[in-house]
Symmetry: D2
Subunit: 378 residues, 4 copies
């Protein structure tokens, strides 16, 4: 007997699409008691939201998010807006007793995030943040191997997220398509957009971060703003790198930029342990590189695991060995786990509270970049 | 204004799943006038077909394919059965005036295929065969480059399809899960199952084949049969390799096996032209390897194109650059093209008649393997 | 106490260089009782041979190979001439009681090879053929693994040797630099030049070949001949592919061409066994790809072994782990093994007799390509 | 007419071997007026130096470096000792009017390096430091491309040098084989040993560094000392990472460690420019990865250039296209360039003065790691 879970999504951009697809597909591949129903989509523009709803099969539309949240027929709200609206929306949802699935990063900063955590915890509503890369099967496999102790003592964690789409100086900032370049809407640049992903994975795989030392750069200092039509200073970080110490004694090195020519969305991480090491790369997300020092000497080598077998995480639900899945499936997995969490009563990770940890590191990174000092993570 | 296209699927195995998924998803990603409706699913087992229909959202079920074909509310029939039923079903569909989407290979042999072509052409029904790998974006890009003349005169075409799932001698043959090992149901082994894919792509990219010279092998000579419970001779080819001449003067070399330890579904092809060469590999299907001799000498090299940009075939309909899609999307593309073909009145390729060409080569290959002689393609 | 081994080399082309380098270097890296002394170099052109001798440190020069062979101060003759001179020179050396190191292929054909074997065996002189790729550390490691039974029953062996340097139609044939395109000097095209390497490795790793079925092609039918100045028919095979059966029941597939745009010297082989598989590629000769089905399921994968550790064949004699050696080192290894063989009294492999096996397969391949028939290996 | 250049080498360890090999081989491959003669080898142990001299062909031996430097028949001294002897030896050589080829890093610290520079410049003797990786053909090709402006404005430079050979806690420190772990002999750990290489390449390719911010770690705090037999504190850095600003406005990120399981000698760098990017990896040193944004959109990709063609740096002196060289050849190239520099009167790069720049950055890195502050490069 399946139970409907009525979803209302706010924000119809790129993330609105990935989440809608996940809701639509999950029941074809995962057996869950709860079944998402695309009840309502919400965006400011009536035309846009109507087209979006038609494309994805939402039953109704709203142009005022307050109305959507007020509706009795909505069980869960999915927040897909720019970052500067997360707090207000999430608190309103919590007060209305709605479950919340919030796009990452949690908030503009730690202060906002704290308010959001307080609100959902006070209201007792189910909450999660869309750090989807945890649910790439290869990344989940990495988590399994680490949890089983296969790596032993960890010495190093390094990650980067490299893109190249903002190199052109005549690219404007702001507005619907380019809010990620507008500090007022995004809060930060690559730190909140890209490093937040790296950090979420890192603390999931390797535990908490103690302190950080960062540098940021804005290569293109001013761009035309789409909302004002004027050339305005660029307030975001185009690039950010930081060193850190993890609580387990290992060293971390992170970097992100949108000025790495040749990389579209190269998110990679590597973790070096006493016995074994692991590498992963979003550009070939269906593979996990693994090195085990306990292999026979002559045959020791990096293995390129094609993570498509039935005994790999999530993969028995898809096709047959050798046939890869892609980016969008990470969201399907998150929905599947969310629904399973509802069924079992276990909060699906990361919750707001867990995602706040990433926010704390992001804030420490930005603060360190300003001060030039080692900065403790709040 | 969208028009419903009522689909009835016969056969609820692996291919039934991939096709059902494609029908469900196409309208979320491709704008088409026609919109598939999952009207009915059909399989012999009432329990199986009911579960299948529920999982994928079919409105109704049948256990007798004659009833499904007879229904007025079915526009198109999707044949996902083992190969030995293709002919009978397809002819019945044609006579009932149904559009047909038939799983590959077209038939058990050329004689059957000829009958099927005659039937659909006499009835004037729309027909296509699911050679899905043409619609991997990287493969379609290869087709574009070849059609533009970027490769110049072609010298070599080589392809292989390597698997390793039948090495265990205690694996049985026959029945629902293992009909591919049963000659009575499959017609042939790797030739019809795997080489047919390689051949379809090859003739699409490089034109017709003149003659072939093949060898086959059955490594495990007898296996327990699931339907009889007895150990019986294995009638299929476990491995097949063949040399050939293409009409354009180039040489072809093809190989397939299910005894290549370490390869789950390694379908690769390479084409060498006077000016440029192309390679592709199903295990990393989102990449196309390209070498262009016209590049500056010092910088000449194989390029590993990450086929995820908006100007790559089909990709503007999916996510953003750098984010890969997977295996299942090839079927979505085929449905999208099929629907667009209905709209424009252009038959979507490959039709039965086009797929018959692959059947002729398969038959010539099996015949050559028996005779040990060069064999002309019918 | 080291013993000098006086070397006389005949032929100062590319192979003359690789062998001279090997003689010069071997004693810096391998402890051997015998130490090569570069006694004399021989070539028709006095100027060329003088320059060659000066560059490599030969003590003297000859322009008549009969004189070199007649010299008492020469222990071993290295035959680096075009193929059409191998027989005459080798027989003369044998009659003069000289050790012989002959460049591959052994001869123009089996008949010549038989005469050569008879001559060296009658004379009882030490003899070897320069099939250098056996001594790539990664290839030798493959041999170790196979001999230890790590692969189990073998199902498939495939190899190719792809180049692209003869595509230009205005490339002439014949003469010092281009004798490989001249059938009169080379005997055959890619079969003797490139496939001979593939075959030597294959029978070393996988045992004898029973029968073959081949096709050849000459894409450019006529080229200007450097010796006559006239446009003349091209007598060599530009490309050759063949299928075969090995004595152990496995299937073989081989291909070579000089028309594979993008490949300079891509010699690859792959061997698929019941338990494990191996791949190797000359373009990255310091790596061996290895897959072992006995690994834990989740972690099964191709391993890319960086063959630079002290426990890898030959590598303890070179640098430290991680630091690769290259092409030329294979010749150093062959000299080292040859010298060790002198010391121990064990003939170094492949001897003329062993290399004759490769010649037999080459002849069968060329014969099959003409007849279009399966052809037994003599 | 060749001129002998009499070499005396001090230190017969790993670097003594690589340099001796380079002197022995250079004249076989590069035409130079000067020809190295291995005149004398020097080490403390009479047995060791005698064996070394015999293996490599040195004419004589010394056990007191003062005697070697005092010999009239020595033109150039090659300093291959641990770092703590570089200064004293180099100054003595300079005062004796000898040319100096000094192993990297230049000195224990900047103060020593300054004295060494002053000494050689006062004496007017030819001097160079063995930063051999500049002469990997792929790295030299990178330099060409950058100098030609192919990359445009540079945004990022990142490099790392990862090893895994000191993870075992029972590995001792100090003595002939393990002086690199002994701060008294090495001055620092990975910073001077490995990052010095990364830094030398970086400033050669990307210009000077303005300031740095570093972190270091010593994972194993105490090890048995081979010279004292006692467990003693480890004084070196096991790992070091730093961020920096280059003078051209680009950001740098560097990391080195001997605790990265799975990496034997993984030295990689990547440089991202406005138009193009470059990557290189010591584990496959014969390849250069190149991405050019000016390529046609659909075909834009990373190219893996197999740097073995005649138009690639140094490669016309070796074999034929497709045949790779290895690690040791970088030293041959440095000797060839050194000899050519003597002939033309142009100092070969890097001189002591140029290598001092790397020393300054190393010192700033170590200082920053202690203070936790951004530190200007002297």
């Amino acid at each position: 007997m399946t139970k409907p879970l009525n979803i209302g999504v706010i924000g119809c951009g790129f993330m609105g699409r990935t989440h809608s697809n996940a809701y639509n597909r999950v029941s074809n591949f995962f057996k869950t008691e709860y079944k998402p129903v695309l009840k309502a989509a919400c965006a400011r523009s009536a035309d846009s939201v109507k087209a979006f709803a038609e494309q994805w099969g939402y039953e109704s539309v709203e142009t005022d998010w307050r109305k959507l949240i007020a509706r009795d027929d909505i069980d869960a709200v999915d927040i897909c807006t720019p970052n500067n609206l997360h707090k207000e929306l999430a608190i309103a949802c919590a007060e209305a007793g709605k479950m919340i699935l919030c796009e990452k990063p949690l908030a503009m900063n730690v202060a906002e995030g704290e308010e959001m955590c307080a609100a959902v915890e006070k209201a007792g509503v189910v909450n999660t943040v869309w750090y989807n890369y945890r649910r790439v099967p290869a990344v989940t496999l990495a988590k399994q191997l680490i949890d089983e102790g296969k790596l032993g003592r960890i010495f190093h964690y390094r990650a980067n997220f490299l893109q190249d789409w903002t190199i052109a100086e005549d690219l404007p900032q702001g507005g619907a398509a380019l809010w990620r370049l507008d500090a007022a809407a995004a809060g930060s640049g690559v730190t909140g957009d890209l490093l937040a992903h790296c950090i979420d994975t890192a603390i999931w795989l390797n535990g908490g971060v103690t302190n950080v030392n960062a540098m940021t750069e804005t290569f293109v200092k001013q761009r035309k703003h789409n909302l004002t039509g004027k050339v305005e200073p660029v307030g975001i970080d185009d690039a950010c790198a930081f060193m850190c110490h993890f609580g387990n004694g290992s060293l971390g090195l992170f970097e992100s930029t949108r000025y790495a020519r040749g990389h579209k969305a190269l998110y990679t991480f590597e973790i070096n342990g006493e016995h074994a090491s692991i590498k992963w790369d979003l550009h070939d997300l269906h593979r996990l590189e693994y090195f085990d020092h306990r292999d026979e000497g002559r045959l020791r080598a990096w293995r390129s695991i094609h993570v498509t077998d039935g005994d790999h995480p999530y993969m028995k639900n898809w096709w047959v060995p050798g046939l890869q899945i892609g980016y969008e499936h990470t969201f399907v997995h998150q929905v599947a786990d969310f629904l399973a969490g509802l069924e079992s009563g276990t909060p699906v990770s990361p919750t707001f509270r867990e995602a706040l940890e990433t926010q704390k590191i992001c804030d420490a990174v930005l603060s360190s970049a300003k001060s030039g000092q080692w900065t403790d993570v709040g």
